[in-house]
Symmetry: C2
Subunit: 225 residues, 2 copies
DNA sequence: TAAAAATTGTGATTTATCTCACAATATAAC
DNA sequence: GTTATATTGTGAGATAAATCACAATTTTTA
């Protein structure tokens, strides 16, 4: 019980670099909380004194835009959430909400900083993660703006299949409005494109379950915009 | 001459945290290169063995999109360029091109890694810079998609005035096509909006020089989309 | 300095997508 | 299990901006 982080199966790449003592001190300064679908994990504008780490589940990062909420990205484990806040002004610049039941570890910020300062391997892993995020957001920025809705929805579906659920058959647990806010389209357009994909025999949908039946075609739509 | 980095006036926040010896070793492993307007500093797809640091000038980061080039952002000194490559797969994932005459310091990657590993204050500053970049790209993502071209062009102009040139009168050294690729609009639309802004007495343009004459109005356009 | 190339300006037309409106489901609450 | 609430489906019309097609500049090159 005392060394829960040491023996945690969902360790971050960074946490794997910790020594036994460091990992033990992490266990003491780490609180794991369960969130249900729809629960707010981090709320934009509030003060933050912890580093959050997504141990399991699925979450969305979103920002209040001038007109409506913008879903910036979907994050899967194992990822740190809200690092920019940790190194910034302590006010959360965006919100994080659970899409499915999720477990989040809240780590004391001073311990986290101490680990960064004393363990170069640990901080290097954090740097790597941040850099990956930067690249991803650049790429997303290109896609968002140069593809039309069909291509962007295809991207999202392929991302769900290949990177998140690792299966061509998966549930869609966010509403179409959220998907719209993720790919910059209206709720109605998402609905229409879903219907098109079903009619074109690219998808099969029953309830919340989606099955990709013609992945080739979906990939073609993704890359052709 | 030997300690050029120690006494450099354009030091990064991170480099300010270095000890005298560290800074001396940086001087030895750092090559400063001048680039003219239009010169390519980092080229997408090529192999990178150095960390680049923008000492002076102005550059754009751009990525080849499915249809056309996407300008991701404009970067001013003092910033590290291509950090994601440093910590990633060594292949540059984006290009960097000089917008005006720029000086870039190329730092040996193994020394850079050593500094990160041995100087926690240094690595902390790098972390802070990366996090800032992440937040900025999130915000940009919201703006890009929820504002129309007038609002987005207003954003760019205000950014130039307030953050880059620190004056309401400045030259526009990138072509309208680039501005279009930055705010996701066609070249023609940018041209039209510029004309509108002049007609509405928000801007005065003569040649490449732009003067913001009604900043209030420009700010209103920026926040109202 | 002239010729060539690149950039910008502007009109007419087309288009993907938004918005509005309401019907049809699905999900939650009682 | 029935009502209330939230989500999705779909048509018709409105619209910001893209595209196309040239003319007018400006900048670069020879």
């Amino acid at each position: 019980m005392e060394n829960k982080c040491t023996f945690c199966d969902y360790k971050s790449a960074a946490a794997r670099k910790l020594t036994l003592e460091e990992s033990a001190s992490l266990s003491i300064n780490c609180l794991t909380v369960k969130f249900k679908k729809g629960d707010s994990i981090i709320k934009q504008g509030t003060y933050s004194t912890n580093v959050a780490y997504l141990r399991s589940g699925l979450v969305k990062i979103h920002i209040d835009g001038p007109y409506h909420v913008q879903v910036v990205r979907i994050v899967k484990p194992s990822s740190y959430l809200g690092l920019p806040t940790t190194f910034g002004d302590k006010i959360n610049q965006y919100s994080v909400t659970a899409i499915e039941e999720s477990e989040v570890c809240f780590i004391d910020i001073s311990l986290f900083r101490k680990l960064l300062a004393t363990n170069p391997d640990f901080s290097n892993q954090i740097l790597i993660e941040l850099c990956k995020g930067e690249l991803e957001s650049y790429k997303k920025c290109v896609n968002r703006t140069q593809k039309q809705t069909r291509g962007k929805l295809a991207d999202v579906l392929l991302d769900f299949a290949d990177n998140i659920y690792h299966s061509d058959c998966f549930p869609i647990l966010i509403k179409q409005e959220d998907i719209g806010n993720l790919v910059d389209a209206s709720r109605e357009t998402i609905s229409r494109v879903f219907s098109e994909f079903v009619k074109d025999e690219i998808l099969k949908i029953s309830g919340k379950k989606v099955e990709i039946v013609n992945k080739q075609k979906l990939k073609r739509i993704s890359s052709n915009g």
